[in-house]
């Protein structure tokens, strides 16, 4: 996937609990909705989990609430998938820690609209 405007590397502030800057890639419809170009940079307190990334994403862009996770159940919507550093995390619990390269901001957390036409 070619995305313009990649964010910079993780921010190191010296403390173990300091938030790191993660990179998130959104599908085109959600980038347009959130009015972002390229990747989204998020600061997430460690440990960086799927749930914390999505919470931070919704906090930064409230318009995305309900579009990735169901409002009521907080479950992933059926046609949305999560990829990270070559792994499919779509079916992992929200508490799942992200791969090191993603947690360090070297690779993005990728939100994908499931492959389908329509």
């Amino acid at each position: 996937m070619k995305v313009r405007g990649a964010a910079g590397p993780a921010i190191a502030r010296g403390g173990a609990d300091v938030a790191v800057r993660l990179r998130v890639v959104l599908p085109e419809h959600l980038r347009n909705l959130a009015d972002v170009r390229g990747e989204v940079a998020l600061e997430v307190p460690p440990p960086a989990t799927i749930g914390r990334v999505l919470d931070a994403l919704e906090a930064l862009h409230p318009v995305l609430r309900g579009t990735i996770l169901d409002h009521a159940t907080r479950r992933r919507r059926a046609f949305v998938r999560f990829f990270a550093n070559g792994r499919d995390l779509s079916h992992e619990p929200m508490e799942t820690e992200l791969p090191d390269a993603v947690a360090r901001g070297e690779e993005p957390f990728v939100v994908v609209g499931a492959m389908a036409g329509g």
């Binding site: 599908p27 085109e28 419809h29 959600l30 347009n32 909705l33 318009v63 609430r65 309900g66 579009t67 990735i68 169901d70 409002h71 009521a72 919507r77 046609f79 949305v80 609209g113 499931a114 389908a116 329509g118």
Partner: protein
């Protein structure tokens, strides 16, 4: 100078078509919300700059957009539609119990007296309301708790609340229609509801063809000057009620098919109504490949085909339930959109038609604002 603004929802975005009062030269704006299904857009009757739109996809769910400047700019507002309590089950297509689940907003009906108040009809069927211009939505649960909800079942498009008709003379009264449950009326602002389906007959669909609830009502329409007179396009049968939905009689008359989706009332002639006959529920296209609007000037039973300017051979499009509307100019303008992406307009009560646009995505809804 007066004019019209036609709000078109399609499978892949929304379009706004504008013209002056002559209605012969059109400006086309869009696609708005490109790639998303826009089931419905509608403007406030008392603030023409205030427009609400229902935007959704199977991938990313439901959004509601609001414009405060006549559709030039849009802001996403609240999109959480949470049922009150545990919603329970309704019937699935095979009659088994199926959990109630929110899918999308089919229809938005702005209040007649407050631009910040809007009713939303949703799938699975329920009625929601906002009183803060869309920031938050709250269910009016009395409808779903009418007592018959466990027997409601989906039509081909889903179990949707697709029609909301507000009574301009009795602020506490409104009508809604659900496929497939039927018509319900409230006289206390949505707290309690009564099924209003006496006279409807659905052979081959219900164990009791004349059951109180379970009818696939496709659309109801009212002229504001006569709020006790309602017209209905049912799955099969065109019906009318002269007692506020208390009873219905069939007025299909000489229609070539009494299956169809939309029904509309002329802006200035309360007994002039329009339908678009469709061949059948499994063949969603016009009879004989001829796209014909039928007009009755007698409130039903006697119908005339309106064909001038409409394709009269090899036409196999459908016209969906929310895809017809009238303006309030004189002569009355009639508009409808097709699943083939055409939006047709007549500026002379339906006598002559011309396409405004021919190649949009499949049209889901058409509404008209008459501008001063």
């Amino acid at each position: 100078m007066s004019g019209v603004r036609v709000l078109v929802g399609t499978r892949k975005g929304a379009f706004i078509l504008t013209a002056d009062g002559k209605r012969d030269r059109w400006d086309v704006q869009g696609p708005l919300f490109a790639g998303w299904e826009v089931y419905h857009l509608k403007g406030s009757p008392i603030d023409l700059n205030r427009i609400y739109a229902s935007q959704s996809t199977g991938w990313f769910g439901q959004l509601i957009q609001r414009s405060d400047d006549g559709g030039t700019s849009w802001t996403p507002v609240g999109n959480e539609f949470a049922y009150e309590g545990v919603p329970g089950t309704h019937q699935w297509y095979d009659g088994t119990a199926h959990p109630w689940a929110f899918t999308r907003v089919w229809h938005l009906e702005p209040s007649l007296d407050d631009p910040d108040t809007v009713y939303a009809g949703v799938e699975d069927a329920a009625l929601f309301r906002t009183t803060d211009a869309g920031a938050s939505w709250h269910e009016l649960p009395g409808l779903r708790r009418h007592g018959s909800g466990a027997n409601w079942q989906p039509g081909a498009g889903g179990m949707c609340l697709h029609t909301i008709v507000l009574d301009p003379t009795r602020p506490q009264r409104m009508f809604i229609a659900i496929s497939a449950a039927g018509v319900f009326r409230t006289d206390d602002g949505g707290v309690s509801w009564h099924a209003m389906n006496r006279g409807l007959r659905s052979d081959g669909v219900l164990p009791d063809p004349e059951a109180d609830v379970g009818h696939c009502v496709h659309r109801i329409a009212m002229h504001p000057s006569r709020p006790d007179v309602l017209f209905m396009q049912k799955h099969w049968d065109v019906m009318r009620s002269d007692d506020g939905g208390g009873s219905w009689t069939e007025v299909s008359g000489n229609l070539p098919s009494d299956f169809g989706f939309p029904i509309e009332v002329h802006a200035h002639e309360p007994e002039t109504i329009y339908v678009v006959p469709i061949k059948s529920d499994s063949e969603h296209y016009p009879p004989d490949g001829k796209l014909r609007v039928y007009r009755s000037r007698t409130g039903g039973n006697e119908w005339e085909a309106l064909t001038s300017g409409l394709p009269q051979e090899d036409c196999y499009v459908n016209v969906l339930r929310d895809a017809m509307a009238v303006d309030s100019l004189g002569p009355c303008g009639i508009y409808f959109g097709t699943t083939g992406g055409q939006v047709y307009a007549s500026s002379d009560d339906g006598d002559h038609w011309a396409p405004i646009v021919r190649d949009l995505p499949a049209v889901l809804s058409v509404e008209v604002q008459t501008l001063p």
